[in-house]
């Protein structure tokens, strides 16, 4: 399905043999380093376990020094992709390059990658020093240099002086820091992070998120991060690759995938956007008037003239919806089904008729609407995205 693979400009993908690749990475961040070979490049990767196809036709180029996240629900193939870079999973088609070198036939221990696991995977019978020094030892680094590098790495993860401790004497967060130190101490070409925060409790997760991002920036290492958590993806990444069912749904910056989701899946997976089905009743070059299935009519910005009668979906983020008197354009009359008070904001579930419930997340001003109250919600003509009948963004 070539139309599923969309780079940030949503151009149809050229033929597989074409040179143009979807490029993920911070294009603007390091202008001097442009034009070099990508740190990691996938070309038309297929991965199958027996008859089950885990990943199909996956292409991606990752810029040096960028932080790229593979985001998707469990079973979407993101971990499989990560493991294929490491060489822990065999690909059944295509090719993978690390730093311009094809690695399809290179065994894992010669790929020079740093790997951080969800379960830390520190060697339980080795102390912190021996764990961190492991990769250096197998690269024949002189003893004195090993001492120095391990010390530096432990300082970097803010656990200096823990050399003699055993993994079992450390907390989960500390273990993951040591695992991070172990993976970066030998300066690998790529750092692969396989849901490294999922085993941590909520507070520690927040802290580690900042920590990992900081270390990645300081070292300038290329990082590929796998998660199913949209918040992690949005807050840490230079680019996000949203995956579903073994294929790429969208590649873009956090802002791009969040603000202009390319598909219905992306809109729903990132932030549970409201999806309002309807048909175009009138349209010109800039706007379209859509009769919603809910029975109301909205006028929205449209990138091109749409054919009247075309089935479309209007995607609106809960945060873009205004409630009550603040709803000035595209007012939809409804009734509050439920209210969740979150302190600085409130989430309303509003029934706008036709069995359609719309979710609004708005800052609190004045009094909070209660269940059963009649209320108006509205959104600006440009505060939404239009999807066609196949669920792809109209551009």
């Amino acid at each position: 399905m070539p139309d599923k693979l969309t780079d940030q400009t949503s151009k149809p993908r050229p033929s597989p043999a074409g040179a143009s690749q979807a490029v993920a990475g911070s294009a603007a961040a390091r202008p001097g380093a442009e034009g070099g070979t990508p740190a990691v490049e996938f070309r038309d990767i297929d991965i199958a376990y027996g008859k089950f196809v885990a990943v199909r036709d996956f292409s991606l180029a990752i810029r040096r020094g960028s932080f790229v996240t593979l985001l998707g629900p469990s079973g979407c193939g993101k971990t499989t992709i990560l493991r294929s870079i490491a060489g822990l999973v065999d690909i059944s088609g295509g090719q993978i390059s690390i730093g311009g070198r094809r690695v399809d036939d290179v065994p894992i221990y010669k790929r020079n990658i740093g790997l951080v696991f969800q379960s830390y995977a520190l060697f339980p019978h080795k102390n912190v020093f021996d764990n961190v020094a492991f990769g250096l030892k197998y690269r024949n680094v002189p003893k004195a240099d090993i001492q120095r590098k391990v010390r530096q790495a432990l300082e970097m993860v803010r656990l200096p002086g823990s050399e003699k401790k055993l993994p079992s004497q450390l907390s989960g967060g500390q273990q993951q820091r040591i695992a991070l130190a172990r993976a970066i101490v030998f300066e690998p070409e790529v750092l692969l992070l396989d849901e490294p925060l999922s085993a941590l409790d909520a507070n520690m997760r927040e802290e580690m998120r900042v920590e990992i991002k900081k270390i990645q920036k300081e070292t300038g290492i290329t990082a590929i991060f796998v998660t199913h958590d949209q918040e992690e993806a949005l807050s840490m990444s230079d680019r996000i690759v949203v995956m579903n069912a073994g294929a790429v749904e969208q590649i873009g910056t956090p802002e791009e995938v969040y603000e202009t989701p390319a598909t219905a899946f992306v809109a729903d997976f990132l932030g549970k956007a409201n999806m309002l089905a309807g048909t175009v009743s009138a349209a010109d070059q800039q706007t379209a008037t859509v009769s919603l299935a809910a029975g109301q009519t909205v006028t929205v910005a449209s990138p091109r003239a749409l054919a009247p009668g075309a089935a479309v979906t209007v995607v609106v983020r809960p945060q873009k919806l205004a409630v009550g008197p603040a709803a000035t354009s595209n007012r939809l009359a409804g009734r509050v089904v439920s209210t969740s008070y979150l302190g600085s904001s409130a989430i309303y579930e509003v029934d706008i008729g036709g069995r359609t419930t719309i979710r609004a997340n708005t800052p609190i001003s004045g009094k909070i609407a209660r269940e059963g109250e009649a209320i108006d919600v509205g959104f600006g003509p440009a505060d939404c995205v239009l999807l066609d009948e196949n669920g792809s963004r109209i551009a």
Partner: protein, 280 residues
């Protein structure tokens, strides 16, 4: 009388009965061992009760008995060689069965365990017939091979149980850090397998040192192991010397695993305070 008090009294009786039965079971279990050990110090000429006095003469006699000493030496080296080879084979087999997927894996799994299920006598005769069929003599090598055959299933089972608890990510981490498959086995998997290696070696040693029925078939002419030596001595008379010999055997087969276990415990306490199963 309240119902609670009645229930209490019934509980007390049940408790006493349990205690009594437990005592009987323990007496039944340990009486033969205790009798052998006690009677080995009997001064009497006859290998049975009553005791007539304390004496170490039967141990002295053992030390002077060249046949017994030869049998002891034979059993020791056969058990040692069996333990070493069986442990190596068993650990590698368990590793292969747990870590790799290949055709016929289930079959291999069953085949490896089979010697533990087939009656020993059948195995004894079977191996003998097989050896005769290819026209080979009965040598000590055959005896060692036979003992390995008998002990491998147990070592594989022990090593497999431990191997299941060693998560694959440890090896994957080692590989990603640049260690080859062999190096990551040597540095990561094997050290984590140490408890199973020690337990397997001890068990293999004991199985070999103890084995009687199969050894009767396999030993070369003129060679005796400890158990077969005791059997042949019994044919003549129940001498108190046999009790002394029995005590020595008990000492070896119980003492060695005990010492091994203690050593392992000390080692574990020294090197780490958690193990992979406890800490995930």
């Amino acid at each position: 009388m309240s119902a609670a008090a009645r229930g209490n009294r019934e509980g007390r009786w049940a408790w006493r009965l349990t205690g009594f039965v437990t005592l009987c079971v323990y007496i039944f279990l340990f009486a033969p061992i205790i009798a052998t050990v006690v009677l080995s110090f009997n001064a009497s000429m006859f290998g049975g009760f009553p005791m007539t006095g304390f004496s170490l003469q039967w141990y002295g006699k053992l030390l002077g008995n060249e046949q017994v000493l030869a049998a002891f030496r034979t059993s020791m080296w056969i058990a040692l060689v069996t333990a070493v080879i069986t442990t190596a084979v068993g650990v590698v087999t368990a590793y292969t069965l747990i870590r790799f997927e290949f055709r016929g894996k289930q079959m291999l799994n069953t085949l490896v365990i089979l010697p533990a299920l087939v009656p020993e006598t059948i195995l004894g005769v079977g191996l003998l017939v097989a050896i005769k069929a290819v026209d080979q003599p009965r040598t000590s090598l055959l005896l060692v091979l036979g003992h390995i055959l008998l002990a491998v299933p147990y070592v594989v089972l022990i090593a497999q149980a431990r191997m299941v608890g060693i998560r694959r990510v440890y090896e994957e981490a080692a590989l990603s850090l640049g260690a080859s498959r062999l190096a990551s086995f040597r540095e990561i998997t094997l050290p984590l397998l140490v408890p199973a290696v020690v337990a397997g070696a001890l068990l293999a040693f004991t199985i070999s040192f103890d084995n009687t029925s199969a050894s009767l078939f396999w030993r070369p002419a003129g060679v005796e192991t400890m158990p077969t030596q005791i059997l042949s001595m019994l044919k003549i008379s129940i001498s108190p010397e046999i009790n002394a010999l029995g005590t020595v055997m008990i000492l070896v087969t119980v003492g060695i695993p005990l010492i091994g276990g203690l050593l392992l415990q000390g080692l574990t306490r020294l090197r780490r305070r958690g193990n992979p199963e406890e800490k995930t």
